[in-house]
């Protein structure tokens, strides 16, 4: 009966059947074929005592092998739909690594606790820039108009009637289809809010070259899930800005946000830990020093750039006995003046 219920309402979910007692056995690997699952269930024999922990370990392995470590899974026990969440959590905490538990909790939160999804606004795909996401979900349109679903009391659902009900539903305009079409054509995503300080995005995802669907990805909860977007609460409509930040011809963008201080690789840093670094910089200075007094400007530029490093160099030079060298002396004198 459980499989019938799932076949009707969750036909896109992958399900696997595992029998356990003191050992565990994978009876049916992950499939969408509920008939196979039903058959295996009816052929199930009784085993010896129950050892839940081993079974959960086994389940954890099977899931990881098939789907990787980041896939949320629901564990359903025979004769119960779901164990009370607290009990299940206790068991999971002792048997499965925390990662899987967190994924489980996240899955439940999303399906049970999120009442409303609000679109905040739209962002170009190039600006959202392959963001890290916590989970991905298919967004499927459901018929809002109840009349379409209602086949009438007492009538059995014949295949033809069902088809016509589906056909009817197909002809009622649905926002998901409109949203998906426009997002795909414009190459944009819709930024959505699931709860206070929890955001995600809706976008068109192509499964193959021909087919695409509306999908939703959730960011990690928090006020600033993507550093290059900044705080989401500070994102406002472009109509409020003095000038359109995207430019009249969409050639500009207000994103990505830049950090206040640049990273080391984005500026000139002096690192002389490896000999090659020191050698290159000394040679650079000497090369320019040789061109003195003609290329004084270039020399100053090179020296100023290395100034912090030059002080280090200075206290190295000052500690050593340097062989008399005209160029080095001229460097010294210029440095002293500066």
């Amino acid at each position: 009966m459980l499989f019938e219920h799932m076949a009707t309402n969750y036909r896109l979910e992958f399900t696997s059947l595992v029998a356990f007692s003191s050992l565990w056995e994978l009876l049916v690997p992950f499939t969408r074929d509920y008939n196979t699952l039903q058959e295996a269930l009816s052929n199930l024999e009784d085993y010896d005592k129950t050892c839940l922990e081993a079974a959960l370990h086994g389940v954890s392995n099977v899931v990881q092998q098939e789907w990787g470590h980041a896939c949320p899974t629901q564990v359903i026990y025979q004769a119960m739909i779901l164990i009370d969440l607290d009990v299940l959590l206790y068991v999971l905490y002792t048997a499965i690594p925390h990662q899987a538990v967190n994924e489980y909790i996240k899955l439940n939160y999303v399906t049970n606790c999120v009442p409303d999804l609000e679109i905040v606004g739209f962002i170009e795909i190039g600006d959202i820039s392959s963001p890290p996401v916590m989970s991905r979900h298919l967004v499927l349109p459901i018929a809002v108009n109840k009349e379409v679903d209602d086949v009438g009391p007492g009538t059995t659902e014949e295949p033809e009637e069902e088809t016509s009900a589906n056909q009817q539903a197909g002809k009622v305009p649905n926002f998901c289809v409109l949203l998906h079409g426009s997002l795909k054509v414009e190459g944009m995503v819709a930024l959505v809010q699931l709860g206070p300080e929890w955001y995600g995005m809706l976008y068109s995802q192509a499964d193959s070259k021909k087919k695409s669907n509306l999908m939703m990805s959730l960011f990690e909860p928090g006020p600033e899930p993507l550093p290059w977007l900044g705080k989401v609460s500070q994102l406002g409509p472009i109509s409020d800005a003095a000038e359109n930040p995207y430019g009249e011809d969409d050639s500009k963008s207000p994103f990505p946000l830049q950090p206040k201080i640049k990273r080391s690789y984005a500026q000139n840093v002096t690192v002389w830990i490896k000999a090659s670094g020191l050698q290159t910089d000394v040679q650079k200075i000497l090369r320019n020093a040789r061109k003195l007094p003609e290329k004084t400007q270039t020399f100053y530029k090179v020296v100023t750039r290395e100034s912090a490093g030059m002080d280090t160099l200075l206290f190295m030079f000052s500690r050593l006995k340097m062989v008399e060298n005209m160029e080095v002396e001229s460097i010294h004198s210029i440095m002293d003046v500066n």
């Binding site: 739209f122 820039s129 963001p131 890290p132 002809k171 949203l179 406002g236 080391s264 040679q283």
Partner: protein, 684 residues
């Protein structure tokens, strides 16, 4: 990592005593390009760095890597110790920069060999470090303020990294004991102060630096507990290359970092411009970027190569030459900031510049057999380079149902282009935070949501469900009515739009209503306009609560639009009755009716209580010169001509020639006649 873990605060204590001026005895050749030297030039002697220089350089590298990967919330306090302590920066986020530290270090200068060695000790710095760890950071303060009653849940932990040249193991023990005592003293003081917090956990990392070619007097010791508040570990390291490696390993351990080597990067050689060779670049990042490898046990397969001291592990990923510039949305489960290990090397700066210029690179997990797996991507965002983890496992979402099979999938005339335009108008932009903004109401995202709600109150999804959104004439009103508030100019534009529609109806212009009806041609023109007006009313009604001017737009529409048939008939019948009484001449009834009807219509527009006079076509009532009333019965022609004259006179001044014409001829340019004797006649 917990929020206020030991890694939140790190105090560097660097020994600046005279003995630190001793040479490390690792020589560096400066004079590399001997061939370019001219004659009579004495070659540069090799340079060797002092213990102090080594300590400074390696600690700066530690900071550089830390700030690259954690630009915020991981804080360094740099202390230099000789006869006294010198604190070079504070815990403030603004003070966290290698640039600032380098400048401060340059001001300190090298150790002074003249200083009295009796007074000099690294102890001064260690004591200052403990005191510093008791100071509250802005992040701790914020957390305590937020938690209020449970503020004691905010922890105070920290690490002290001491770079020194110790004398012996006994000396090291003495330093540890000193730190322990200072912690106890400082904790007592902190307990009684608002601005200080007692230390709950302190990690002391003592790095003993000694020159090459010498034996060490201090032994390595792994982390051990000195007390419940203090742990201590000792590393004995040769100055130079070894010290650099040691601090590189420590920064990885302290901040949960891992190493990835990007291999197979094609770069052009300076000397040989036509060839390119393959280079490797090593990057450091948070170790979670390798999580999938750990889980699947592929870490070894990906390649753990050992470097210099044989202690480093790195995962090797192959560079995939980017094929297209197309922007793709990858399914990515993590993005981690990177720091190149060798930031100045040519291959490294080539790679980082390539990425900073906006190109992304896919990275392949090398496999002995099987198909290629793209596991990561390097991408720069706003000047920061991230290592993205791409999901390469099978998805439960494979083979989803086609959209055309689902609800709404069979509809073919969705307003995709219009919605696309709507989305572009509702793109987001970052708004800089300002202290006044908090007082001024809604945060920007709330304004964005409110705008979306207003714009979509009435938004038909398919072309066949709407008339007004398929009409160019409605655009000005439709664009303005969704605004939160309307200016007087906006209101006028809306009203002009309405008048324009009235005009169109009068001229019987066709409407873009689909004529696909159940039979025949579909609705007639009158009915079409009725449908259009109804929809326009519906649109505006959803916005009347917005403001008084919104209401006036609605009033204008209701007043101007064509009425339902029954009402029109009633009006006509009413007028007919009036005419019977006033004008006995039945032959003229039709013409009079038409005139009165038009006058009434223009009166309706004029007399409507709130609509102002249309700007350009202001009726010049005061200048109308009605033709003299003829005596006796008026002919139809006369009546018609009068009507045209009256209408024309409202629009413009009559041509002077026509007014003064005699027998349909008028003399023009009279002054020319007077001056030059020529006459120009105009015949009408």
């Amino acid at each position: 990592m917990k929020m206020f873990s030991v890694s939140h605060k790190t105090a560097f204590v660097v020994d600046h005593c005279p003995y630190m001026a001793e040479s490390s005895r690792q020589q560096v050749e400066c004079d590399v390009l001997t061939k370019s030297r001219g004659q009579g030039m004495i070659p540069l002697a090799p340079v060797s760095k002092s213990l102090w220089t080594c300590a400074v350089e390696c600690s700066m590298e530690y900071c550089r890597i830390l700030y690259d990967v954690y630009p915020l919330k991981k804080l360094i306090n740099y202390i230099v110790s000789d006869s006294e302590f010198h604190i070079l920066n504070s815990w403030r986020q603004e003070d966290q920069s290698t640039h600032e530290l380098m400048s401060a270090l340059a001001a300190v200068g090298p150790p002074n060999p003249q200083e009295d060695p009796e007074c000099c000790s690294v102890l001064h710095g260690l004591v200052a470090a403990v005191e510093s760890l008791c100071k509250i950071t802005e992040y701790q303060h914020e957390a305590r303020t937020t938690l209020m009653d449970t503020a004691d849940r905010v922890a105070n932990r920290g690490r002290i990294i001491c770079l020194t040249n110790a004398k012996s193991d006994t000396h090291v023990r003495m330093l540890e004991d000193c730190v322990q005592e200072t912690i106890l003293e400082q904790n007592k003081m902190a307990a009684g102060s608002d601005r200080l917090m007692p230390i709950q956990q302190c990690e002391l990392v003592l790095v003993h630096i000694f020159p090459q070619g010498e034996d060490t007097l201090v032994s390595d010791r792994p982390k051990k507990e000195v007390s419940s508040l203090l742990t201590s570990e000792v590393h004995s390291v040769r100055a130079g290359r070894h010290l650099a490696t040691k601090l590189n390993i420590l920064v990885q351990q302290h901040f949960d970092l891992a190493s990835t080597t990007i291999t197979n990067i094609p770069m052009k050689e300076e000397q040989h411009a036509n060839t390119s060779a393959n280079y490797d670049v090593e990057l450091l990042h948070h170790r979670d970027a390798h999580l999938e490898f750990f889980k699947s046990g592929d870490l070894h397969m990906a390649g753990s190569t050992s470097r210099d001291s044989g202690l480093k592990e790195t995962v090797t990923l192959k560079w995939c030459t980017p094929r297209t510039n197309s922007v793709e949305l990858h399914y990515c489960t993590g993005a981690y900031r990177i720091s190149p290990t060798d930031v100045n090397s040519r291959p490294s700066s080539c790679l980082t510049n390539f990425l900073l210029n906006g190109r992304s690179v896919l990275l392949e997990q090398p496999r002995k057999s099987g198909s290629k797996v793209i596991s990561h991507m390097l991408s720069s965002h706003g000047g920061e380079i991230f290592l993205h983890v791409l999901n390469s496992t099978r998805s439960t979402l494979e083979d989803p149902p086609s959209i055309s099979e689902g609800c709404g999938g069979r509809v073919t005339d969705y307003r995709i282009t219009d919605f696309g335009e709507f989305m572009r108008e509702n793109r987001l932009t970052p708004v800089p935070e300002s202290p006044d903004a908090e007082a001024s109401g809604k945060p920007p995202a709330e304004k964005a949501k409110a705008q979306l709600e207003r714009y979509t109150r009435y938004w038909p999804m398919i072309i066949s469900q709407t008339t007004i959104f398929n009409m160019q004439a409605v655009v000005p009103l439709a664009n303005l009515i969704v605004k939160e508030s309307l200016s007087e100019e906006d209101l006028l534009t809306c009203q002009k739009t309405v008048y324009n529609l009235v005009d169109m109806e009068r001229k019987n212009d066709p409407l873009p209503i689909s004529t696909v009806g159940s039979r025949g041609k579909g609705p007639k023109r009158d009915e079409q306009y009725r449908i259009m007006w109804n929809e326009l009313e519906t649109l505006v009604k959803t916005h009347v609560a917005g403001s008084e001017r919104h209401q006036r737009v609605l009033d204008c529409i209701i007043a101007c639009r064509s009425k339902p048939p029954e009402e029109e008939e009633r009006k006509k019948r009413g007028r007919k009755r009036e005419d019977k009484e006033d004008k006995p001449d039945l032959m003229l009834k039709g013409a009079v009716e038409r005139v009165k009807e038009e006058q009434r219509e223009s009166e309706v527009i004029k007399d409507s209580p709130d609509s102002p006079e249309p700007l350009n076509k202001k009726p010049r009532l005061e200048e109308i010169q009605l033709p003299e009333k003829a005596k006796g019965p008026v002919s139809l022609l006369t009546m018609w001509t009068n009507r045209i004259t009256v209408a024309n006179s409202r629009k413009h001044q009559e041509f002077a020639g026509r007014i003064s014409s005699v027998n349909n001829k008028a003399e023009l340019y009279q002054h020319l006649k007077d001056e030059n004797g020529c006459v120009i006649m105009y015949c009408m």
